[in-house]
């Protein structure tokens, strides 16, 4: 039995290592790099666009998933729109109008993209439901 146990422990170690790399990847360096790139692009924009950029980020973070990865293509797209519009000589008011919040909601897909908060809430609800069920059956 002991002999059989040894390779299993070894496997778990390897799995742990793989997990660490994976974890670093999904939370860490590549996204930091992306964000840094976005910020340096934003700094090239006219000042009023930079202000709008900051406001949009504030409005988007609540829609983030756990790591924020879902927001990366959205942020990239917004910068693209800003770069095009600024090059056309448009004011940020012409681009966004008055409803920045509405713009952000439309960007993340207001029809119920689930944020991490929604997922936690859901998890909590099912856990409680399960516990209640268990009590009933007792």
């Amino acid at each position: 039995m002991e002999k059989m146990g040894v390779p299993i422990i070894k496997d778990q170690c390897n799995e742990g290592e793989i997990r660490m790399n994976f974890w670093e990847k999904i939370t860490g360096s590549d996204m930091t790099k992306l964000l840094k790139g976005y910020e340096s692009r934003a700094k090239e924009l006219p000042l009023e666009y930079q202000e709008a950029w900051n406001e949009i980020k504030l409005n988007l973070w609540p829609h983030s998933d756990l790591t924020g990865r879902n927001l990366m293509p959205i942020l990239d797209g917004v910068l693209g729109l800003f770069e095009e519009s600024a090059a056309d000589g448009e004011s940020v008011q012409e681009v966004l109008g008055d409803d920045v919040k509405g713009f952000c909601a439309a960007l993340v897909g207001e029809d119920g993209t689930k944020t991490y908060r929604d997922k936690w809430r859901e998890q909590l609800n099912t856990t409680i439901a399960k516990k209640l069920k268990n009590k009933e059956s007792l």
Partner: protein, 108 residues
């Protein structure tokens, strides 16, 4: 006309599909055409969110082309799925507008 935003929400996507169907175009041009039609409150940001949605739903083909000023522009063409969606939109619009006109006539 002003204060149309809420009412326009449901049909704006169809309008954008129709404009793209008339020939390859890009965001800024679509906004200007909608403005020229009389939808003066429509801004680039609104059109942009619609274009993102059309792309996500696979209704348009996109080509990036260099522009005289600024970054390359995304040009949009309706694909077959998009054309189907546009037909559906006009059918729905036909139904909606005819029914609402009936209501209007009865009230007069």
């Amino acid at each position: 006309m002003e204060n149309l935003t809420e009412m326009l929400k449901g049909v704006l996507e169809g309008c954008v599909l129709e404009i793209i169907n008339r020939g390859e175009t890009y965001g800024y041009e679509i906004t200007r055409r909608l403005n020229a039609l009389g939808f003066t409150e429509v801004v680039d940001g609104t059109v942009y969110t619609i274009l993102v949605r059309l792309e996500k739903n696979g209704l348009v083909d996109i080509e990036k082309k260099p522009s005289d000023m600024g970054p390359p522009r995304k040009f949009y063409v309706l694909n077959s799925e998009g054309k189907k969606e546009l037909t559906t939109f006009w059918r729905k619009w036909e139904f909606l507008s005819s029914k609402i006109n009936v209501m209007k006539e009865k009230s007069e």
